[in-house]
């Protein structure tokens, strides 16, 4: 279970998170939606300790990442997670295959190095990629990088996976393949996950619950069916993707 309470974060004078409360049950797929720049990635990074919140607590399996200080216990905490970066963050000095199996050496010493190649091929197949094991990340398209990064995040079969926009930049068919993969990981391995996404179709397909973040707080949490028929005007506007409504984006006015 991931239990975040009162998570606050500001960068300099800009307050990003004003007290986020999120409780993700074991085996649940929790989808986080919200405007661009609303702090979704910041929250996801807080969960794994890449960003240190100013206050609040994030407890996973009775360890509170915001209280951990020594490098060993932080490392132990992080080992529970797989993390898909929004911008892929592949190691550009390594081949695709080496990228995918990179974490195994540290996270899964029980797996022998002779199996790495097969595992890389296997995980790449899961995300719909074939025959690119020996390419360098610079030779891949944006969507391919994203999928290699996803393969890397799940290679060690972590119990928790944090996905930062898994379907962004993918074509509709590939997006759906990734949706199925996320559902599969949940069903077969009981993975607990938080998915940040702008893709409403994907959100409604994979979510057990959807939460919307707005102005640094969780505006509403609920079952996808509830979110579809919500009375909250702001959530409605966001889910339906309308420019008119209570949420005003700061734009230059044309006349």
């Amino acid at each position: 279970m991931i239990d975040a309470e009162g998570v606050k974060k500001q960068f300099g004078p800009r307050v990003i998170l004003r007290g986020v409360d999120v409780k993700v049950e074991t085996g649940e797929t929790f989808v986080l939606i919200g405007g661009s720049g609303s702090g979704k990635s910041t929250f996801l990074k807080s969960c794994i300790g890449l960003v240190r919140p100013d206050s609040g607590s994030i407890i996973v399996d009775s360890m509170d990442i915001t209280k951990l200080r020594d490098e060993e216990s932080i490392a132990k905490y992080r080992r529970k997670f797989g993390y898909l970066f929004q911008e892929a963050a592949l190691f550009d000095s390594l081949t695709v295959a080496d990228n995918v199996v990179f974490g195994l050496r540290y996270l899964r010493p029980d797996i022998s190095e002779t199996k790495y190649r097969a595992i890389a091929t296997d995980k790449l197949a899961l995300v719909g990629l074939k025959g690119i094991e020996d390419l360098k990340p610079s030779q891949l398209s944006g969507g391919m990088k994203k999928r290699v990064s996803l393969a890397r995040a799940i290679a060690a079969e972590p119990g928790y996976v944090l996905y930062d926009e898994p379907t962004t930049g993918l074509d509709p068919i590939m997006s759906d393949i990734i949706n199925d993969l996320i559902l599969d990981l949940k069903k077969k391995l009981g993975v607990t996950s938080i998915v940040v996404t702008h893709d409403m179709k994907s959100a409604f397909k994979i979510a057990d619950r959807i939460a919307m973040i707005y102005e640094g707080r969780i505006l509403q949490v609920g079952h996808p069916d509830v979110m579809k028929i919500t009375n909250n005007e702001m959530v409605r506007q966001f889910v339906e993707g309308r420019s008119e409504g209570p949420i005003k984006m700061k734009l230059k006015e044309y006349d």
Partner: protein, 272 residues
């Protein structure tokens, strides 16, 4: 009157600027100390990444060997030319040219010139590479994959530097002394056997050691500063550029400053 008024008007912002600067320096010093501490932690607690270390040794060696040997060769040549021609003026003969060149090169110029060249070559490369990794979140990715940037990136580079810099320095020593002999023979008419006699009659292992000890300290300075600048890069491509320049400048300055203090200590304990 008006002058006083402007000073009072300006002094808060000046103070603020100085205070801000001091805070930045203090913060950087803190982060640097943390990096060194964390390196010690990982060096003790986790196996060394030998594959990375060897790759880095090759990188640093191959990148820097040609330049550092060339630099040293010409330093030896110009030293021989300067001392030889001065001594011809003073004593009518270029006596002790070999002694002076070999002393200056092995104790001082070989190690220092090598360190300066390597700062500019390998130090810059490290800062640029780690800086790029930082701004593209590859450093964060290391954390999420069960390792640590200090363990995976910093320690291999520091060890590689500790091994490669002394070797490069020894090559440079040879190149410098050889360059001196070459100029001595071709321009000053010193017969090679006399030159080598002058070199080896006065040079002993202690002097050689004096030079070598320095290189280990230089290796620490350059590798930690370059890694530090890389890992703490902020602000996109522009930040990477800034980190790279700063890494080179700070490495070079720290090498020259450290050089004086290490020499002072070595002299004080009698290794001269």
């Amino acid at each position: 009157m008006s002058e006083a008024a402007t000073t009072t008007a300006e002094s808060p912002s000046l103070l603020e600027a100085m205070g801000g600067r001091a805070l930045n320096v203090a913060e950087s010093m803190g982060q640097f100390t943390m990096l060194v501490r964390s390196s010690l932690f990982w060096a003790i607690r986790a196996p060394i990444e030998w594959r990375q270390t060897v790759t880095q040794m090759l990188h640093i060696g191959v990148q820097s060997a040609p330049v550092s040997i060339l630099t040293s060769l010409f330093t030896g040549m110009v030293l021989a030319l300067e001392t030889g021609s001065s001594f011809i003026n003073l004593f009518n003969e270029p006596v002790f040219t070999g002694t002076i060149v070999s002393f200056a090169i092995t104790k001082e110029l070989g190690p220092v010139m090598t360190a300066v060249v390597v700062s500019g070559r390998a130090g810059a490369a490290i800062a640029a590479e780690l800086g790029t990794m930082k701004v593209t979140e590859q450093i964060d990715a290391l954390y999420t994959l069960g390792t640590d940037p200090v363990r995976y990136l910093v320690i291999p580079r520091v060890i590689a530097f500790l091994i490669v810099l002394p070797i490069l320095s020894i090559f440079s020593d040879f190149a410098g002394v050889f360059g001196g002999g070459l100029v001595g023979y071709l321009k000053l008419g010193i017969p090679p056997n006399i030159y080598w006699h002058e070199v080896f009659d006065h040079l002993d292992t202690e002097q050689f050691f004096h030079g070598l000890v320095k290189t280990f300290f230089f290796a620490f300075c350059i590798s930690f500063i370059s890694c530090f600048k890389g890992i703490f890069t902020r602000g996109g491509a522009e930040g990477v550029g800034r980190a790279t320049t700063e890494a080179v400048v700070y490495s070079m300055v720290s090498v020259l400053v450290a050089d004086y203090f290490i020499t002072a200590i070595l002299v004080a304990i009698g290794i001269t």
